[in-house]
Symmetry: C2
Subunit: 354 residues, 2 copies
């Protein structure tokens, strides 16, 4: 099976370790996806010499030069106004101009989301784009959305998120028949906000080829009770950061425990390979990359502090999304959906998290 | 300093290990609080023989006999109607009748909250009671509220939760000058729902003796950035369960890692004392007990599956709340609060989580 050509626009200047980690990450992912092509957007005088250290990468690289950047502390509105020639904006423009199939940046999240929405526009049938990411669970890995693009969501948004999340899990995560759950404060049908109960009822009697589990609770997230956790952007953002914080708290406690006494240090030496495998299994770099679903084009946000390995994983997710045509699959799922489900509630304008 | 007499009504039949864990937990806490008195509500034929195994406890124990119980799967509405002679209801009644200063149960959460609200009523100046609990953090321990009594909250509710939580941290946790944070998706002032921004502005320019930190995010919860995390009951419930789930996930991974190979098993033996101290530090039994703040009386919910040690810690928290007169301190704080802050938004009726 030959893989299709995938063209990615890279914000070469975004992120704490840019442009080095961007270039090295691209070289790493190229070894997994030999048909990928890279458009590096940024200061060519800095980026090109880095790329040319990797002859294989240099062969599939093109450049778009700009010295302007979006700073990490720029407000989204200011970035929209003043960042028209920034590496981030020009990388997004490349998708809109048909020069790339997707864009990736490790820069300012709020600016990326605002620019991507403005330039690429929401896909047909989708009221609001949502941010999705994957994370480790007891059973393997699951995904959650929305993680902060929409602070308040109605039932219609949640149902659309369920469809987008399911298509994402199927294509990018490779889950054969992803199960979908709605995040709530209890698992009984009558629990929660009205919007949640309406979405629950719609998904329960759905005509989709979608395996709906019902409501799930906070502890189901890392249990892996479902493959796709659907929630509003406020709750999803808090839940993801709470899980990350708790994981960091535990890692810190472990480090402390193993450096506390001679016995503990010896114990660490013996257990090192096993602990190494554990660390690898939950390595945040393996789960790097938050995708903005529901736009006309693939947009991926890498963690700003990640290294080449982490960046390559976010790139890999972007490539999977393009190669598997996730956007079209989401459209197909929406088409299959009964119009009654989509037309019950008109979309409301809401505040964005980013 | 002599401690005041504290009289507790115990739902002797609530929880998976009742009445054994209830009686043994009472005996454990009695050794820490010699002035505590216990009213055991439940099947006297089963409870009394257990109590009399502990001569010290038997001297400070009284009984209220009933054979009726609230089952774990009972709906709150059904428990309200059909549970009038249950051990849970009669224990709550004892507070209302002035026979006890507080009540504790490890039984059905929803039923306990519904019955307690009905019987004890909301305290003056409080629109809605909130559930608060403590948890371990990098810096020690913090508290969060609301954890599920109110799914949606307005700015006025959040400000009241801040006051109640601060008083709780000061008196029960022993934090000299507790810092308070509002849970949000970003720490900048302009982020989040309107209700959050209104509460933020009110707390920022507050006339209270309250140390307001501003907005905090999900990862700040276990970082211990603030001593009191204030949020609505939906978000609080999801965040707490997400943190618990992540902690369980990590513990499971550790167990797996240490049983995977001979080296890992040896390592475990060497590191056992250090790992034991870690386990002790984050032992959920140490943080057992969710308090319903804002009622005319102290109501504590113990985890249903806890043992005597866990139950004794929930009892200890209840005793601290009574001995320190948290309810009066919350009233005092509300009195000190400018009326402009409390009267801006009228309370709205909302769905309860329990």
């Amino acid at each position: 099976m030959t893989r299709p050509v995938v063209r990615l626009a890279l914000d070469a200047m975004g992120g704490d370790n840019a442009p080095d980690s961007v270039v090295s990450g691209a070289d790493l992912v190229r070894q997994r996806f030999p048909t990928a092509q890279f458009l590096f957007v940024g200061d060519e005088a800095r980026v090109r010499p880095l790329v040319e250290r990797h002859p294989g990468l240099a062969q599939v690289a093109t450049y778009r030069h700009t010295t302007e950047i979006v700073t990490n502390d720029a407000k989204p509105s200011a970035a929209l106004r003043g960042g028209k020639n920034s590496s981030m904006r020009l990388a997004i423009n490349a998708v809109q101009e048909g020069l790339a199939d997707g864009v990736i940046s490790a820069g300012n999240t709020g600016a990326l989301m605002a620019m991507a929405k403005l330039v690429l526009k929401t896909a047909p049938g989708i009221d609001r784009p949502a941010i999705v990411a994957s994370f480790p669970t007891k059973r393997g890995a699951s995904v959650m959305l929305d993680l902060g693009a929409n602070l308040e969501c109605d039932a219609r948004n949640l149902v659309q998120f369920a469809i987008m999340g399911e298509a994402f899990a199927r294509t990018v995560m490779g889950t054969a028949k992803p199960t979908v759950g709605l995040l709530n404060v209890g698992s009984e049908d009558q629990k929660g906000h009205e919007e949640l109960r309406t979405a629950h009822a719609a998904l329960r009697e759905n005509k989709l080829d979608l395996s709906f589990h019902g409501f799930v609770e906070g502890d189901d997230i890392t249990k892996g009770t479902v493959d796709v956790v659907v929630t509003d952007g406020f709750t999803g953002n808090v839940a993801l950061k709470t899980a990350e914080g708790t994981a960091q708290f535990f890692s810190g406690l472990m480090r402390q425990a193993f450096s506390g006494s001679l016995g503990a240090k010896l114990g660490y030496l013996f257990a090192k390979p096993a602990l190494g495998r554990l660390r690898e299994r939950i390595d945040p770099r393996r789960y790097n990359g938050a995708m903005l679903l529901g736009l006309n084009g693939i947009v991926v946000k890498s963690h700003g502090g990640t290294d080449a390995f982490g960046f390559s994983n976010a790139l890999g997710a972007a490539i999977e999304m393009i190669a598997n045509d996730v956007a079209t699959k989401i459209q197909d799922e929406l088409q299959r959906l009964g119009s009654d489900l989509l037309d019950t509630t008109p979309p409301k304008p809401k505040t964005a998290a980013v």
